[in-house]
Symmetry: C3
Subunit: 489 residues, 3 copies
Amino acid sequence: MTSGIVANVKAQATRVFDTLDDGDATWELDPDRLLPLDEQTRAIARDLYAAVETMPIISPHGHVNPTLLTENIPFTDPAALFITDDHYVTRLLHAAGNPLAELGVGGAAADPRTVWRRFCEHWHVFAGTASGAWLRHELIELFGIGVEPSASTADRIFDTIEGRLTSPEMLPRELFERFRIEVLATTDDPLDDLTHHDALAQDTCFSGRVLPTFRPDAYIDPRVAGFHENVQRLAEHFDAPLDDYHRYLSGLASRREYFISRGAISADHGVLEPFATELDDDAAAALYSQAVRGALAPQEARLFAGHMLFQMAKMSVRDGLVMTVHPGVSRNHHAPTFRAHGPDTGHDIPVRTEFTNNLRELLGAFGTAPGFHLVLFAVDETTFSREIAPLAGFYPSVFIGAPWWFLDAPDAIRRFRSATTETAGFYRGAGFIDDTRAFLSIPARHDTARRLDAGFLAQYVREGRLGAVEAERIAVDLVDSIPRKAFKL
Amino acid sequence: MTSGIVANVKAQATRVFDTLDDGDATWELDPDRLLPLDEQTRAIARDLYAAVETMPIISPHGHVNPTLLTENIPFTDPAALFITDDHYVTRLLHAAGNPLAELGVGGAAADPRTVWRRFCEHWHVFAGTASGAWLRHELIELFGIGVEPSASTADRIFDTIEGRLTSPEMLPRELFERFRIEVLATTDDPLDDLTHHDALAQDTCFSGRVLPTFRPDAYIDPRVAGFHENVQRLAEHFDAPLDDYHRYLSGLASRREYFISRGAISADHGVLEPFATELDDDAAAALYSQAVRGALAPQEARLFAGHMLFQMAKMSVRDGLVMTVHPGVSRNHHAPTFRAHGPDTGHDIPVRTEFTNNLRELLGAFGTAPGFHLVLFAVDETTFSREIAPLAGFYPSVFIGAPWWFLDAPDAIRRFRSATTETAGFYRGAGFIDDTRAFLSIPARHDTARRLDAGFLAQYVREGRLGAVEAERIAVDLVDSIPRKAFKL
Amino acid sequence: MTSGIVANVKAQATRVFDTLDDGDATWELDPDRLLPLDEQTRAIARDLYAAVETMPIISPHGHVNPTLLTENIPFTDPAALFITDDHYVTRLLHAAGNPLAELGVGGAAADPRTVWRRFCEHWHVFAGTASGAWLRHELIELFGIGVEPSASTADRIFDTIEGRLTSPEMLPRELFERFRIEVLATTDDPLDDLTHHDALAQDTCFSGRVLPTFRPDAYIDPRVAGFHENVQRLAEHFDAPLDDYHRYLSGLASRREYFISRGAISADHGVLEPFATELDDDAAAALYSQAVRGALAPQEARLFAGHMLFQMAKMSVRDGLVMTVHPGVSRNHHAPTFRAHGPDTGHDIPVRTEFTNNLRELLGAFGTAPGFHLVLFAVDETTFSREIAPLAGFYPSVFIGAPWWFLDAPDAIRRFRSATTETAGFYRGAGFIDDTRAFLSIPARHDTARRLDAGFLAQYVREGRLGAVEAERIAVDLVDSIPRKAFKL
């Protein structure tokens, strides 16, 4: 494989590594990170990014715990902050051979410093991943860490972080301000009393908007763990008989109203497939009464879940909650881990997803209903160009969800823009969604999206597909008017 | 998210927008549009493009109405010309909240100037889309429009276009010449008498080749609307009993011959799935007689349609018509819109497509039959590298269709070349197909394809994968010998 | 389509082709081939590539015949060497209209020089393909060919190659050394006595490691041709009754041990779908005794094959053989060609593949079993980001296989890295696999992978996603520690 030809070339090539032989001594954020490689294009992208870099963050869907902000107490330790509760992170450590229990997952006892060392020793497994980039951003920007995590730097970094955690500027509310978060939506159980949201709304010391999101999966799909207890709690809440289908429906509608009264703008649906169909009232009631007795066959359960997804759309048409759908993830793939550590422990795995046929009945009924908004997310990239963009290119109700979960990373975001823009343009999107439970990662995620959109637009400018002013307007709209419109903000 | 690091960089960066603060004042076509970003690669691409830029257009599949050329009367108005009849355009306006009726779709009464204003006010929704690029090309190149459409420029642009429509150089036949169209195929009903094609062929004042295409979907698939009336008209045409399967088959064969006598080179099949199978004669006859009575169950209808696709292949082997297959689109997704405005109104949505198993029986029978040509199109991109390129890389009969419909756009065309070339090379393709009913967009579409192919080849040259002369030969072949061979021209 | 604007640009553009009007006179390998287009990125990539360019080749999965090395006799002629036995090559010649028999496929008599001429006349059909690139690499690097194959150069090239074939430096063992192959795994029948592997291991004149691979498909899937004869031979080998399920299982386990004693590191499974399930012992035994009588219905055969794939995993957990799975190819698509010329004749066509559900039971049982290694390959690219990377990002046992078969080409390899890295990083891969039966192409294939990885890493460095030293370490690990770990070398 060594060809004589190569030797000559090497002699001419600038030896990039010559000056770096002692390692990546300085660990910092490249100000041009994620911008296009070509210099002319990069220059355009820099300007587009500058136009949006410091704009407020609109985060209309995510999983931050509202108590973080009501309690506003310091984060406990680096391991809890960055590792234990983030299944994006623990899954890669697990794949590298670290048992979840030793990382403190699912409440297992684990010494924070030991967990942190384990993480730093395995820093190389995060190279090139989205999680690695977010962690790097957070460590450098928020904690001023200037050395790469490794076995030899682990303790030093741990101490530095721990030292800063108690400083007032690291309190959650301070960070909320500093992050320029304008709106933050949480995701909540339909029977949640939303006292934390109330408290925040009434707190004169806190000006941020923190909105609840209605997430009824475990109340409307008999296949989801907890369904039976949930509908029972719902019936009790309304003092209704358990198997009264109409009281069940009106109970759900009532809880939606409660959420709306507390500022909710959307209802979120994490379904295995986006299948929706409407059964007639008697058939639905009959399936429901079997469902509460746990007596449904798999196909019947699917049918009832599809019927209820249809009902949720109908309620959205009535009450105005934006309907978001996050389909296509097979949850808790590894049964032994689920039994030992519970859900959200890193083994939710995507499956193929189908929208065109599954949503036909729902869109036939509500696709052009005034005010109905349906945001479609996907972890199956093949649907972006084939199904989601064509649907959003016709139905005024359909908005294209940002690339989700495993796809919320630079290359995947580029593929997403490339797959959807030519069919649906920029204005059928719903803006970037961070979808995170890791509060500290919010700025890193939105910054990533802004840089990539700037780069994507810059490429179109350099290709003669967009004017520079047009591109700048789109860049701004992508972080401002587009999410506001889709989420009715 | 604002990092101190960034400020420094911004100071150094060229402020691209500084000179453009007053908007994209000049609206023009970048002569380098769609060429690669890297300058060295762009230089190579420029030369490759120059080699094919003015070569004649071969358009072996499309939907232009032949009466346009027989009548050769001026286009009526800007709205009819660019908006109302183009469901690529009306779908995006519809998604932006404009009811189709207000755009004049499906024969609804609508004032052209009002429709035009609506379009110009929504110009931003076309940013980045294929339709936006074609429209821009047409407005600038054909009508000399130098300002971007907007609420404030709408009337001015309308008047300019209207003023030019009556000029002799804007007559369809003049444009046909000016566009350098060598061959244009239309798509026609099997019982069409093709008098317009006859008239054009015999008109000594018109030298262009305008060929009919045999499109039998609504005669061979009982699930397609109009099947019953069509087979009835077919039987009447041949004075045959309706339920005589053999007369039905021979009638179709006879109409193919008629098309061939009028210059047809291909038969086109717009199927939901490319499923083909051969039933024995008695079984087929039995299903047919049920089909004409509308008595087929869904699975039987699928079987009969699969049998008829097989028969069409068999006829192609005999009569030499190139068989083109356009599968994978679920038609008329939104039933209310279909009822109100008819078909081709912007809500045909792709679905997953499968070729390997569906075509196995057909290719087992005819895959190496001398002279048999089968061109496979797809709106499911996943099939390009997985199924279509491998099939075309073995079967001499299989040709790779150009990226179709939602995929006939720059990024998608690049993905297509990348997905097919490494497995099947350049010479198993069928050339670019515009597939359009928008006559004025034909040059823009072919120009786009030529630029992208030039860019793709230039990249391969710069990567040492092709020699420069080799690349130039391929660029020329892609617009000339390759479509000629695939379509027997 | 000719716009006045373009003329101006063309005048300014460097005329790349002006100096090349007489053809690509010199045919050589670009030392920068496959490196990124952008110059700054290319400079980084050059250095990364330099770090791995001459490192030894680890080839843990392929199809080279071990007799090549035991016999160590000169290759016979250019046609046999490059064309007849390589179905990557013959399939494209077949697609271009050359009957396989005329190429000598499947033992058909064919004059080598005539076959070679046919190949050279059709050289253009290989432009842009992976096979074309490998062939070019081999012709230039190994045989010093300096002119492009064509009708006029065919004889000259044939004579040059033929002249060199008898030189001692072209003997297989010399090439093995020159190629710097450290480990080469073959693929073998479970009943193979592995005498060639023994001979090589004991040969003091040969220091290379040539390892067998256990490939049991035709012994464990009743749908595979030869199943019946194979299980019969297996039973005879162990002097066991044919329909004794437990002896059948223990026989397979015993053959695995035999392979391990001869250095085998992995067992390979070429299944249609990666479906695995465990039946209870009685049910499995019952299906087996029907299977040996050829009495299984298709669904039963699928079930038994799934059960046996599960058993293979269980045996891998016990005996430590790395389990590799190559699913998703529909074999022998064109029945007439299969009947005339046998298997591996160019018409194996990919189909959609599903991993998440198919592997759930297997991974539930063995996903975290100590020492279990499962390498997942795919020809369905959609699974890389959707299923394989997420699985490998959680299960310590799952390793991402290199892009396989139709995807072992530059653009596809780039798509693969982009699709898997952000979710699973670099350290969940299994290294590059050449999977070839074309011994001479091994260096070209590994060189291609090294160049593309260097380019991919260089892009990440330029985007601020990796440090330069970090990237260099990863480049080295990708060809060294990563395959060693995955394949337990």
